[in-house]
Amino acid sequence: MTQAHLEATPKIIGAAGAPLTQKGESLWQDAVRRLFRNRAAVLGMTIVFLLFLMAIFANVIAIKPFELQVLVDQNKVPEWMVSLFPTMKDYAKFSEDYPIGADYVGRDLFSRIVYGSRISLSVALIGPLISLIIGVIYGSISGYFGGRVDNIMMRIVDILYAFPSLLFIILLMAFFRSTLSDIEPGTFAYTISKADEALGGMLFIFIGIGLTAWETMARLTRGQVLSVREKEFIEAAHTIGASNIRIMFKHILPNIIGPLVVAETLAIPGYISLEAFLSFIGLGVNPPTPSWGSMISDGSRALRTYPNQALFPAMALAITMFAFNFLGDGLRDALDPRLRGTQ
């Protein structure tokens, strides 16, 4: 058992002096138990689960295709909207075909919000994945080998850190989008741009997020590796002749993965809002693909007359962010009770 030091069965010396064995509970079992006892975290988890269902079965739940434009139905709203926005009575055209209204080109808002969850949730999955992979490898190499390697690697991170990441992403987006639009078939760049097109423009969002998000992770991993590196069990592993790679993956990584997972979960709302932000300024997903960010951007132009067009996607975005924040807080409390604020 490589995690033996974590899962050691505690021996409790009873009153009579005889050792009593208590059934061991692993760190993870303990964490899961604590997580499920936290009501806010359970609520967050439930919402996240439902959101994932919504994203997976979007084509079943949505009542219309997201790109279907019915120009005569521009800005139409259902009757009940009047009770929410009384001024609409005077100028709105009504149609019960759209549960929460149609947008400025006559697309169903509800269906677009449902499909929009796909973008936000894939960012919530892929963002942490990319930054974990790059950041953990980079950070553990830097922390494990130390010395000059560490120094050079961390200076590189420092420089990248000082680079305003959002501006970098905007530059990259402009670069990707325009370079690959007029590229000849058969090349690598063409394949990428086709893949991006197929994903509705998400690929470049992933690349942009991945290129900037790993730095924090690398720093955190390095710090964690440094704190574990000098422990006795690592020394023990060295003496029995374990290779560097084995020590890194089998001995160090399992011990530091907790804080890393917590940090990543807490970073998810950041990725979601970054995507929404990019789509809001028009550098995110490609136009027909719905993203909550671009829907808010389109809707805020009609905020005076049809507030439903901006407020509903805004609600969807806020609820998702809430859910991930609750889940992240819960995970942190469960995996690292010290951080809960010393109860």
Partner: protein, 351 residues
């Protein structure tokens, strides 16, 4: 300490050089030039334009001459003219000698303006928004965090942390339209869009009269922008204060009969401030980049729109100018934070 600061300053210069190289390289790698139009301009016109802006020079010459114009102070006996090529940000007169520094070049898109004009007109407004938002973030965040920590596990704590979780979960692109709709359109408390301050500015960026005329425009956007940061500050303040309160030296302070207020302000708060100071660097970065969506939502004539439009227009000098400007802000903010950090916590070694 001074050695540390000098080292950090040198380091800052390296960072800025790298930023400028990457930006310069990337922006020239983007296909299409500043004068690419839907309806192509005649060959001869393009040639003249390229010659005028030195776009026909090799890239390394363009880069070095840009750096030269921006970095190296110029000493001349001729007073500043109105020429677009002759617009420096700093002009100092010593007798008949002019010392002139930082020429960021002309804008390709708006032909009658220079990048320095854009800085002079629009930067103060973004600066005002940023300062207001930072004020909101600190003045809401710190008291909320302190209150929550001192009244831990009471209704005040839960309420405060509820507000905080709301703050981190509702980004400015959500909060902005909601504010505009509720307070601007429905209740008509504030004008939904626009900005109240007009030049001349005090100290170059502060509005010269702080009247309702300024605040009625500024309150909504700065709360919308500062909310998320105030939530982060509140949570961090609470967590560190809770940890500090349980330290031995706090017990000692209480044991020797100090007033509870003295214990909190003198001993606990000062020590729990350290992590809060460290977060101010990244927070400042978030505020700075956040200003430009906020400006888009609230129709504020700041620097924001130039970030996106300069890139789509391939307006090279404006791209370089805005990105370098923000990079300078960020590295200076980080430097100040690190120095404060080292000052607050003497255990931090400078090497």
């Amino acid at each position: 300490m001074s050695r540390y600061i000098i080292r950090r300053l040198l380091y800052m210069v390296v960072v800025l050089l790298v930023v400028s190289v990457i930006t310069f390289g990337l922006m020239h790698a983007i296909p299409g030039g500043p004068f690419t139009r839907e309806k192509a301009l005649p060959e001869a016109t393009l040639k003249i334009l390229a010659e005028r802006y030195h776009l026909d020079d090799p890239l390394y010459i363009q880069y070095t001459s840009y750096l030269y114009a921006v970095l190296i102070p110029h000493f001349t006996f001729t007073p500043p003219s109105n020429s677009l090529a002759d617009d420096f940000l700093l002009n100092v007169k010593l007798g008949s000698l002019w010392i002139r520094w930082m020429n960021f070049g002309p804008s390709y898109k708006s032909r009658s303006r220079t990048v320095n004009d854009i800085f002079r007109d629009n930067l103060p407004i973004s600066g005002q928004l940023g300062v207001m938002a930072l004020t909101v973030a600190i003045s809401i965040g710190m008291p909320l965090g302190i209150l929550a920590a001192l009244k831990q596990n009471t209704i005040l704590d839960y309420l405060g942390m509820g507000v905080a979780i709301f703050g981190v979960s509702v980004p400015v692109i959500v909060l902005g339209p909601i504010f505009v709709w509720v307070f601007g359109i429905l209740l008509k408390w504030f004008p939904p869009t626009g900005w109240g301050a007009k030049p001349p500015y005090f100290l170059g960026f502060l509005p010269s009269d702080l009247s309702w005329e300024f605040f009625k425009y500024a309150i909504m956007p700065s709360v919308a922008l500062g909310m998320a940061s105030s939530a982060i500050i509140a949570r961090l303040t609470r967590a560190t204060l809770l940890q500090t309160i349980r330290e031995d030296y706090i017990r000692t302070a209480r044991a020797k009969g100090l007033h509870e207020r003295t214990v909190i302000t003198r001993h606990a708060l000062k020590n729990s401030l350290i992590p809060v100071v460290t977060i101010l660097g990244p927070l400042f970065a978030a505020l700075v980049t956040g200003t430009f969506v906020t400006e888009l939502i609230f129709g504020i004539p700041g620097m924001g729109k130039y970030f996106v439009t300069s890139i789509t227009n391939r307006d090279y000098p404006v791209i370089m100018g805005t990105i370098l400007l923000y990079a300078v802000f960020l590295v200076i903010a980080n430097l100040l934070v690190d120095i404060t950090y080292a000052y607050l916590d003497p255990r931090i070694r400078y090497d």
